[in-house]
C-alpha cells in the first residue's frame, strides 16, 4: 500500500471515529457530556441513562457504521464484478426481495418488528437464489444473464408489492410498508445489532478473503479462466457473501437508498483507483455518511426522519461536487 493510500485510509477512519463520537452525545434522551464521561470511566450513573447509552444510543451508531460499511462495500464489489458503474447491492434483487418479505410480514403476518426482520432477511435471500437459479436457465452464464435475472426478479417482486399495496389498508399497512421502504434506525436495539453481526462478519470476511479474485473478475471471464480462476464459482460465492451482508442489514433497518451506489463513486473519485483498497475506503465513506445522516434523522425533529431521505440529500450534492471537480 502506498503512503498516500495509507494516509487516506487513516484519515477516513479518523473522520468516521470523530463523527461517531460527536453523534454519541446527540439524541432525544438527554445524556450530558458529564454522564458520558462517567459511563466511560465506570463511575456510578443513573440506570436509565446507562441503559439508554449502552442499549440504544451506542447500538444505533454501531448499526449506522455497520450499515454504511456493508452496503457501500457490497455496492463497490458489485460495481466491480458486474463491470457496471451503476450497479447497486440491489442489482440481483436482494433489496426488492427483502421489501417483498417485509410487505408479506406487514400484511399477512400482522408483523411486529421481529417478524418483519426475519421475513425481510428470508425474502432477500430467496430473491437472490431465484435470480441465480434463473441464470442457470440460460446457456450463456455471463454477467448480463445475472443482470437480466435481477431485472426479472425485481419486476416480479415490484408487481407483487404493488398488488399488496393495492389491497393494503391505506391508514395502517400501506403506511407501514412505505416507511419500511424508506429505512430507519429508530427501532435499533442492542439485540438487533448482535443478531446480525455474525452474518455481517461472515459476509465481509469472505469478501476480504476473495479480494484478489474479485479484482480478476473485473476482467474478461476468459482472462480470469486463463489465470486459473474458477470464475463462475467465485462469482457465486461473492454474490452470496454480499447478499448475506445486505440482507442482514436491511432486515433490521429497512431499505436505505443510494448509499450503495454513491459511496463507491465518492471513494473512487477520491482514491482515483479501482481496486479492493477502494472498496474498503468506500465502506468507510459509507459509514461516515450514514452516521451523519442518522444523527440528523434523530435530532432534526421529535419525530424520526426516514434515513433514505437524508442519505439522498447528503450523498447526491457531495457526488455532484466531486463530479464538478473532475475534468
Amino acid at each position: 500500500m502506498s503512503k498516500k493510500s495509507f494516509v487516506q485510509l487513516f484519515l477516513a477512519i479518523l473522520i468516521l471515529l470523530t463523527v461517531s463520537i460527536i453523534s454519541i452525545g446527540i439524541g432525544r434522551y438527554p445524556i450530558s457530556i458529564e454522564d458520558i464521561f462517567k459511563i466511560i470511566f465506570n463511575v456510578e450513573v443513573d440506570t436509565t441513562t446507562r441503559m439508554v447509552f449502552f442499549g440504544l444510543r451506542l447500538p444505533r451508531i454501531i448499526m449506522a457504521i455497520i450499515a454504511g460499511i456493508g452496503l457501500s462495500m457490497a455496492g463497490s464489489v458489485y460495481q466491480t464484478i458486474f463491470k457496471n458503474p451503476l450497479a447497486t447491492p440491489d442489482i440481483i434483487g436482494v433489496s426488492s426481495g427483502a421489501n417483498l418479505g417485509a410487505a408479506v410480514a406487514i400484511i399477512y403476518l400482522s408483523g411486529g418488528t421481529r417478524t418483519i426482520a426475519v421475513a425481510a432477511f428470508v425474502g432477500g435471500i430467496i430473491a437472490v437464489f431465484t435470480a441465480i437459479g434463473l441464470t442457470r436457465l440460460s446457456n450463456y452464464g455471463g454477467i448480463s444473464t445475472f443482470v437480466l435475472a435481477g431485472i426479472v426478479i425485481g419486476s416480479i417482486t415490484e408487481g407483487l408489492i404493488m398488488m399488496m399495496k393495492f389491497f393494503a389498508d391505506p391508514e395502517k399497512q400501506l403506511a407501514a410498508m412505505e416507511f419500511w421502504a424508506m429505512g430507519s434506525f429508530a427501532g435499533i436495539t442492542e439485540d438487533k445489532v448482535i443478531s446480525i453481526i455474525p452474518y455481517f462478519i461472515i459476509g465481509i470476511a469472505t469478501l476480504i478473503l476473495l479480494r484478489w479474485q474479485i479484482n480478476i473478475l473485473s476482467l474478461n471471464d476468459d482472462e480470469g479462466k486463463s489465470l486459473g480462476i474458477p470464475v463462475e464459482m467465485i462469482r457465486f460465492v461473492v454474490i452470496i457473501a454480499a447478499t448475506l451482508v445486505v440482507a442482514s442489514i436491511v432486515s433490521v433497518t429497512g431499505l436505505i437508498a443510494f448509499i450503495g451506489l454513491i459511496a463507491p463513486h465518492i471513494g473512487r473519485m477520491i482514491t482515483k483507483r479501482n481496486d479492493f483498497y477502494t472498496t474498503i475506503f468506500s465502506g468507510l465513506i459509507g459509514g461516515i455518511i450514514l452516521v451523519i445522516a442518522d444523527c440528523l434523522a434523530r435530532s432534526l425533529s421529535s419525530s424520526e426522519i426516514p434515513i433514505s431521505i437524508l442519505t439522498t440529500f447528503i450523498g447526491a450534492p457531495f457526488l455532484a461536487y466531486l463530479m464538478s471537480r473532475q475534468r
Binding site: R28, T48, F166, A186, S302, S303
Partner: protein, 366 residues
Amino acid sequence: MRELGGFIMNILKRSILIILAIVMTLSIVGCTTKPEIETPENLEPVEEPENEVVEEPKFEPIVITDHLGREVTIEERPERIVSGYYITSSMLIALGLEDNVVGIEAKANSRPIYSLAAPQLLDLPNVGTAKEFNLEGCIALEPDLVILPIKLKDSVKSLEDLGIKVIAVNPEDMDLLKETIIMIGKATDNEDKANELIAYYDEKISEINKVIDVDNKKKVYLGGNSDFLSTATGKMYQNYMIETAGAINVASEIDDTYWATISYEQLLNYNPDVIIIVPEADYTKEDILNDEKLAPLTAVQNGEIYEMPESFEAWDSPVPSGILGTMWLTSILNEENYSFDTFKEDVADFYNVFYNFSVDKELITK
C-alpha cells in the same frame, strides 16, 4: 328417402345451431343489461310508497355547502344513497338510514359495526376505496345522493357532471364531524336525529369536563397501529381525544399531520404516566411490558398500559361513536369519578339508542 331424410336432418341441425346462437347472444346481452335496468325499477316502487306513507310532510329543497365549499341543492328526499367513506356509512346507520344505502366503501367486512348494527350493508355492492374509487359501479347503482371523502374530489366532479348529487365531507376532527352529521342530516331530511346525536356529544363532553382533574393532568402516550414507536401528533384527532379526557399528549409538540415515528430514546424522554394502544394494533400490551428497553417508563412500572377495545368502531378516530373513545379514556384516567362500569352502561345506551343493537359488555375492555 334416405337422401331426403338426410336433407331434413341437415336443415334441422343448422336451425338448431342458429337458434342456439341467437339464444346465447340474447342471454349474454340479458346478463349484462337486465339487472342494471331492472333492479332499481324493482326496488323503487316497493320503497317509495312506504316512505311516502310514513313521512307526510313534503321535502323542502335545501342548499348544502359541503367541505369542498361546493353548494349542492337537494330537491327531493334521497332514497338511494351511496356512501364511499366508512365514517359516513356508519353515520347513516346512526341516522337510521341504513335501508336507504345502496352501496358502500370497499372492505366493509373489516369493520365490526356493520355486522353488529346493519348486517345487510355487507351484502351491498362496494364502490371502491378512497384510493381506487369505482366510478362506473357507483353510477350503475343510480344513486340520488353520493357521499364521498374530499380526497375523491375528481370523482365528485365526474359525478356532478352526470347530474348526480354529491356531498364531499372531511370529518377529521370533532367540529368537522359535527358539521358532517348536520350536513347529512339536512340532506336526508333527518335533522332531528342528527341534532340528537350532536346533543349527546355535547352532553357527554360537559359531563367529562366535570369529571376530569384539571390540576393534575396525566401524561399520555398513544401507541399507533403498526408499531408502538409510532404515535399521534398534536395535529391529530387523537390529540383532541387525549386533551378532552383531561390529559396531556406527550407527543403534542410534533406537528406532523400523520402518525409520526419516534425513537426509543424519545419515548424514554417523554416518560408517560399512561400508555394507550389504539384498536387493532399489531402488537399487544405484553409486547410493551416485555420490552426491557421500556422498563424504566413510569407507565410500565405502574402497569398503566391499556388497549382500546376493537369490537365496535375505531374509537380513537372521528367516527360517530368516537365520543366513546374519549369517554373510555376519561374513565381510565379518572376511575374514581367515572367508573368503568358506568362507562359500560353508557356504551350500551349509546349503541342501543343510535345503532339499535344491544352490546355484549364483555367486549368492552381496557
